[in-house]
Amino acid sequence: MNVKALFLFLMLPVAAWAQGFAGLGTDADGFAVPQPGTTFDFPADHGPHPDYRIEWWYLTANLTGPDGTPYGLQWTLFRSALAPGERPGWQSPQVWFAHAAVTTPDTHYATERFARGGVGTAGVQADPFRAWIDEWALEGPNFDSLHMTAAGPAFRYDMTLDAQGPLVFHGDAGFSVKSEEGQASYYYSQPFYRIAGTLHLPDGPIKVTGTAWLDREWSSQPLSGRQAGWDWFSLSFDSGAKLMGFQLRNRDGSSGYSSGTWIAPDGVTESLPNGAFSAEPLATHSVAGRDVPTRWQVTVPHRGTDVTVTALNRDAWMDLSIPYWEGPVSVTGTHQGRGYLEMTGYE
């Protein structure tokens, strides 16, 4: 068994999500399970929930350089628990891993980190907010004002973020259902960050500005056994409105469960029920030996939305222990704008 296999094994909950191992998303031995009607408690809920199997702090940003070149950026910290709860030192059952990426129109840089909980190399604290793994950090005085760094062998970035709007809760006030069988997670976002900073790429530093979207999600039973993967969209329209939508693909190829949130410029949300949001592949691209859709038709009929979503760089493949596609997109059609696309479970 090589390290990669070990990691894959270790990350089974996530692997089940990303690659759809049958039966693994469904049982929750000893872990807490999301319940509808729970009220969030901030700032505590910005921090970790060790009784749940899996959790993440997932930030994506659409950036623009001084010459107008578009860039994409990702900073993600995952928590994956081998057992519920927290214990001190090496006995901690909490495993942390993180992905960072920078996408340019020609190149995609991605890197990852792994760390054990309990000894101080990685963790999250709610107040003052601080999420870190190794030298990577997402920290602020508070959740609305953050400083973010990450580095890999070929890139490094240093950013500041300022929230321009309220937190947004998906599904039923943050209780987000993921399948017809009722698998669910807690899910809220801060989609209103203004971001600025410097990308350090092999050709030199680049000053960038743009918008960022932070997703917070935790659960113990993310996927139904018959779901193979998902396509997730976060789109920011020039009108100021935003759309989050995802669809879960079934193993048998049938179109599966979909869900989404329409976010008005002032942060008022409308939860989109199963079927209200739909995404159809328009073109696929061969990357890492798989065919991945990199152009989509996304529709929300009752909102009069029919847009084409196109990848900025079709090769934004995250060639990491858990491989998936994640990159910036542009939006044309009834609405113009930018956003991010994540696709998992493409074999």
């Binding site: 068994m1 090589n2 070990l6 094994f9 090496w90 059952p93 760390a115 000894v119 190399t121 490094r156």
Partner: protein
């Protein structure tokens, strides 16, 4: 019918149990030695692989404390928080087992704990605690952690999660950190975060497998030669069994057994016997390996620091190869006989001609073969390149020598016969010559055994002499001092100056010279170097030129790889310097260029000496003085201790070599015994007239013994040049191709004489039983010879 035919064929073995025994025992001995040696090699290699995989040692840079052997866990966290991608390791002794604690999440190495996935839970590995160890190590561990037997674990090491091992050792610190190959941009230097730690670069080149290959090569050569000897036995027994059954085969064919069925039956019979013999051989090989492995393990550990498991596993790579080679060997031996049966007219006279009577034609055919092979060997010796050519050369040379043996002995006996005085002596020589064809296969086996022993022991002894001389040269100073911190050097400089006769700082740096990765060594030229270093080739006043920075010395590895020798010019950075001398270097596989201290400091001003050789009349006092000045004992190496340890290791090597010597001689002696026993019955018609003329049975028996001794003597004499040729190929061809250096060859006439005596002893011992049988032959049987005159 088929059953009856099979019955008839097999009855031969029932009536000749000795032949059955010879066939099985010969094959078993050959397979046993081959698979035993292969087993040892396989075990050792598996141990290196496991060690490399588990410990990651040598593959990755490591972070170590500048002083002591402990790193605080907070240092680990601080380094990671600063951007250093490192993985923690804790190491300690627990119930005399080396416990190794790792973090499976951050560790860069490949940990083949197949069982982790098989048993399903990494959480169990990291949480309550599991240790992975070989069965041998696991049996010695008594702990509350769950010990899981892993075939992939390194010998005498138990691997567990870092938290588990910390708990078992009762510690909360770390031993070292492995530095991952990929590091992020913007990482600050180590001394900004933890100035009390240092990075030790990985030693990519000094791969343990590479160093130990020479040792395994010796063993493999032994295994192959013993197998060749064993095949001679098998060949002769199969030949005998077929010849003796020609009559039977004719009768069966006459009775209506189809030829095809006959061939199938005979082939099946050989396959069955070969399988039984090979199976016995594999058991024997296991025993040989199990007995020798502890010595081999000690040798390898001492010689190269390679940890080898002392316990043996039944690996398919050696037993399957043993089985295959035995069956293929038997098939080759039987194929000629089967071909003859297939082409024999059904009713051809089954005259009881002795199977061994070589016709004049086969003798000349043999001579032609020997000549061709010898020519091939000569061509390969002159023009061959690479390991395969060297091994082919080895094969051609040995087979040529074996084939030529009877052709060499025959004229000697003929010459002795002309010079013989008296009828008994004349008869003895004539009879000796007469027996030569029947014994020639056994004698060839003996020749191979003796010359293999001469060759391999010459190689091992030459290696030992060279290595000891090399140790003397390289470890001339009485005491060696290794400092982690160059600043320490300044502190103890006055102490050193006051208490030593000569200080030899050693400067090291890596460089690319002539396009090759090379180690630069800076030395302070003085009495020690001038008196002790022996060059393979040098100009006059080489040391003066080096001291003045006008020239350099290279080691043989560098000279061979770059093909630059004395008088050629090497370019260091931009400075071109001639090579003043080439020195033999048997301690490492790297190319080295040796410069004077002053020149080195000009080229590499930032490199500071961390190693010192210290000359002193009283090393014990010097050691005490340095200890008092704060130098830890572990930083000082006593030359005498190091040397005596190396010599002990060689003694072990000799134990292994001697044991294999005895075994190959035993195999050859056995071949001789079998041939003599076979001949004994057939020789009665020749002996009966001599007995009738008045020689007593006792006298005849003594003559038999004398003849065996004489043959062995002749073979031993011929074996000396053959063995030396073998040694030359091993030292001058195989070694150069495999390791880049040529070992000088030394001669050991005393041990060759001893080997000759051992060979004669083995032959006489082999002849003893047939001779005794002859002495006890009832006169009536001898008389029957005349009654049953054919």
């Amino acid at each position: 019918m088929r059953r009856a035919a099979l019955h008839a064929l097999l009855s031969h073995w029932r009536r000749h149990p000795l032949q059955l025994f010879a066939f099985l025992a010969g094959l078993a001995l050959a397979t046993g030695l081959w698979s035993g040696v292969q087993a040892i090699n396989a075990e050792a290699r598996a141990s290196y692989d496991a060690a490399a995989a588990t410990l990651g040692e040598g593959q990755f840079d490591q972070i170590l404390p500048r002083a002591g052997d402990s790193i605080a866990q907070s240092d680990y966290v601080a380094l990671r928080r600063a951007g250093w991608r490192v993985s923690p390791v804790i190491e300690g002794r627990y119930q005399d087992v080396r416990l190794l604690g790792l973090d499976p999440l951050s560790s860069p190495g490949r940990f083949d704990f197949g069982q982790v996935t098989a048993r399903g839970n990494i959480g169990t590995f990291m949480g309550p605690g599991q240790l992975f160890a070989t069965a041998e190590t696991a049996a010695r561990l008594d702990t509350d952690a769950q010990v899981i037997v892993s075939t992939d674990a390194a010998p005498n090491v138990a691997v567990g999660d870092i938290g588990v091992v910390q708990r078992l050792l009762g510690r909360s610190d770390l031993s070292r950190l492995m530095v991952l190959p990929e590091q992020p941009l913007g990482r600050p230097p180590l001394d900004q975060i933890a100035p009390h730690l240092r990075v030790q670069p990985s030693i990519q080149t000094a791969d343990v497998g590479e160093l130990t290959d020479s040792f395994h090569l010796n063993l493999t050569a032994f295994g192959l030669l013993s197998f060749a000897v064993g095949l001679f036995i098998v060949h002769s027994t199969i030949g005998l069994a077929f010849e003796q059954r020609r009559g039977l085969v004719r009768s069966l064919r006459a009775l209506g057994i189809p030829l095809r069925q006959m061939i199938v039956l005979l082939a099946g019979e050989i396959l069955l016997l070969a399988s039984v013999g090979a199976a016995l051989g594999i058991v024997l090989g296991y025993v040989v390996a199990a007995v020798l492995l502890p010595d081999v393990a000690v040798t390898l550990r001492g010689l190269y620091g390679a940890e080898v498991s002392g316990s043996l596993r039944f690996r398919s790579e050696w037993w399957a190869s043993g089985l295959a080679i035995a069956i293929i060997g038997s098939a080759i031996a039987a194929s000629g006989q089967l071909w003859q049966i297939a082409h024999m007219p059904i009713l051809a006279s089954a005259r009881p001609r002795a199977w061994f009577m070589a016709s004049q034609r086969s003798a000349s055919w043999q001579a032609a073969c020997a000549g061709l092979l010898a020519l091939g060997a000569l061509g390969l010796a002159l023009f061959g390149q690479g390991l395969i050519a060297s091994f082919t050369l080895l094969g051609c040379f040995l087979i040529a020598a074996a084939l030529a043996l009877p052709l060499l002995i025959r004229p000697i006996t003929g010459w002795a016969e002309t010079g013989a005085r008296g009828p008994v002596s004349a008869w003895f020589w004539a009879d000796t010559r007469q027996q030569l064809p029947g014994l020639s296969l056994a004698l060839m086996a003996l020749l191979l055994a003796v010359s293999a022993n001469i060759g391999v022991s010459t190689m091992v002894s030459s290696f030992r002499l060279t290595f000891v001389a090399f140790l003397d040269q390289r470890l001339a100073a009485e005491l060696y001092l290794r400092l982690d911190d160059p600043a320490q050097a300044e502190v103890i400089a006055p102490v050193l100056a006051a208490h030593t006769d000569e200080i030899l700082p050693l400067l090291r740096a890596d460089a690319q010279v002539a396009g090759l990765p090379t180690e630069l060594l800076g030395v302070r030229v003085g009495r020690t170097y001038r008196d002790n270093w022996v060059f393979l080739d040098s100009t006059a006043e080489a040391w003066d030129a080096v001291a003045e920075g006008r020239a350099v010395i290279t080691n043989e590895q560098f000279a061979r790889r770059a093909d630059l020798w004395v008088g050629d010019v090497v370019t260091l950075d931009v400075t071109a310097l001639p090579i003043a001398a080439v020195v033999g270097d048997y301690g490492n596989p790297r190319g080295q260029v040796i410069l004077g201290e002053a020149l080195f400091q000009t080229l590499r001003p930032q490199a500071l000496p961390q190693s010192f050789g210290l000359r002193s009349d009283d090393p014990a006092r010097l050691r005490a003085t340095l200890r008092a000045a704060g130098i830890p004992d572990s930083a000082m190496i006593d030359q005498a201790a190091l040397k005596s340890f190396s010599l002990q290791v060689f003694e072990r090597t000799f134990t292994v070599t001697a044991a294999l010597n005895v075994l190959t001689l035993a195999v050859a002696g056995f071949a001789m015994l079998m041939s003599l026993l076979t001949l004994a019955d057939q020789r009665l018609p020749q002996l009966a007239p001599v007995w009738a003329l008045g020689l007593t049975r006792r006298q005849l028996g003594r003559l038999e013994l004398a003849r065996a001794g004489l043959f062995a003597l002749l073979v031993s004499v011929i074996a000396v040049p053959v063995g030396l040729g073998l040694a030359w190929v091993l030292l001058a061809k195989v070694n150069v191709d495999a390791f880049g250096w040529r070992l000088p060859m030394f001669l050991f006439p005393g041990s060759y004489a001893l080997l000759g005596l051992a060979a004669i002893g083995a032959a006489v011992l082999a002849a003893l039983w047939p001779a005794l049988r002859l002495m006890r032959t009832p006169p009536a049987r001898l008389l029957q010879v005349f009654a049953h005159e054919r």
